[in-house]
Symmetry: C2
Subunit: 212 residues, 2 copies
């Protein structure tokens, strides 16, 4: 019930970039940074950076700037990176296996418990010690293990039915790689990775720059 005034999605989508650059500064043992310096690094304006950060609190200090370590930590908290999310993946083909091998899961606090597929040739195999199970058992597995996040790397024909299973078994967040817009209840969050759209946009931009 304690709704705060909502932060716009435009701001949210910049946070991971701030977090990433601050991590890099941290690695270089840089301890403080001004919004102006951050502007040079990230390409966002200093004004925008200050506005963005102030949606979440005053992390800086007048005359000094921002403490890199502190700001990095705070952004990690805001992004929810300290919490461990239990996840499963459905669709253990090429893309699914690549995603399962993805090293970035740890950084975001995601723990992949199992993969699922319907192909008998895949069932029983392991990717990084994570077993591929029969998709018929996915709902049971999710409920039993209190899985919170579902990843969809199936062909688009099966994506919606997988999403439906996720919703039924009480998953609250979906990372969707299938080139379709899932229909889910509004309390479920969906983050799409639409490779086809990304490629179309590259095609457009290429043409725009080179054929005018």
């Amino acid at each position: 019930m304690e709704r705060e005034n909502k932060v716009s999605m435009a701001v949210i989508r910049r946070l991971p970039k701030y977090y990433r650059y601050l991590g890099e500064l941290l690695d270089k043992d840089i301890t403080r940074i001004s919004s102006h310096e951050l502007s040079n690094i990230t390409g966002f304006t200093a004004s925008q950076i200050r506005q963005d950060l102030n949606n979440f609190g005053g992390f800086g200090q007048q005359g000094y700037g921002y403490n890199v370590e502190e700001l990095h930590k705070q952004l990690g908290k805001i992004l929810g990176l300290e919490k461990i999310y239990k996840a499963v993946l459905v669709g253990a083909g090429n893309l699914g296996q690549a995603v399962a091998n993805y090293k970035g899961f740890e950084d975001a606090g995601f723990k992949l418990l199992a993969l699922f597929d319907k192909n008998p040739k895949l069932i029983g195999l392991k990717i990084r010690d994570i077993e591929i199970l029969d998709v018929d058992n996915v709902e049971e597995f999710i409920s039993k293990n209190e899985v919170e996040i579902g990843i969809i790397t199936t062909p688009k024909e099966h994506a919606q039915s997988v999403a439906d299973k996720f919703v039924k078994s009480n998953i609250k967040g979906i990372w969707n790689f299938a080139p379709t817009d899932l229909k889910v209840p509004e309390d479920i969050v969906v983050e799409n990775v639409h490779l086809n759209e990304s490629l179309f946009i590259l095609s457009y931009m290429y043409k725009e720059k080179n054929e005018k």
Copy 2:
């Protein structure tokens, strides 16, 4: 030199979605559609759809709506999907192989000519009949074959140096999967697929919905 007034990126990023839904309508043998019906399907407002399309010309007809086949074709043209782009990929690990297997290349008119890696265990293997070659030869290959698009699926440490090689050998578009912002001359277009940022955003949204 014939610069038109530039269409905003916000519009461009909606085009692939229009294109996709129109393709689905086409499959269902639906021949005409109004901006209002398209609004129901896509979730964008009818007004926005008409505004978006009118950046590129008047494809509709008063009192009738839009011809699905015609609009689909026009959007394909706008997105540059009819042109064949020659592409290479550097970084033939898990992600690289998954991307090489990606079926969406054909739809966007991309032809993947070769993969490159520095790992001797990978060099010589084939993915979908496409050979993995030694990355030392990538510049020569690009020049010789007049490759236009480069795909980066290396770890982030190597991404910039691969991009530099691409630029040197005259590639004009880069599809970048490495979690870093590439520095390239401004006539080169870069489209990023930043999985880490996507995952962070999912984490944020999940937390926002479930821990308030």
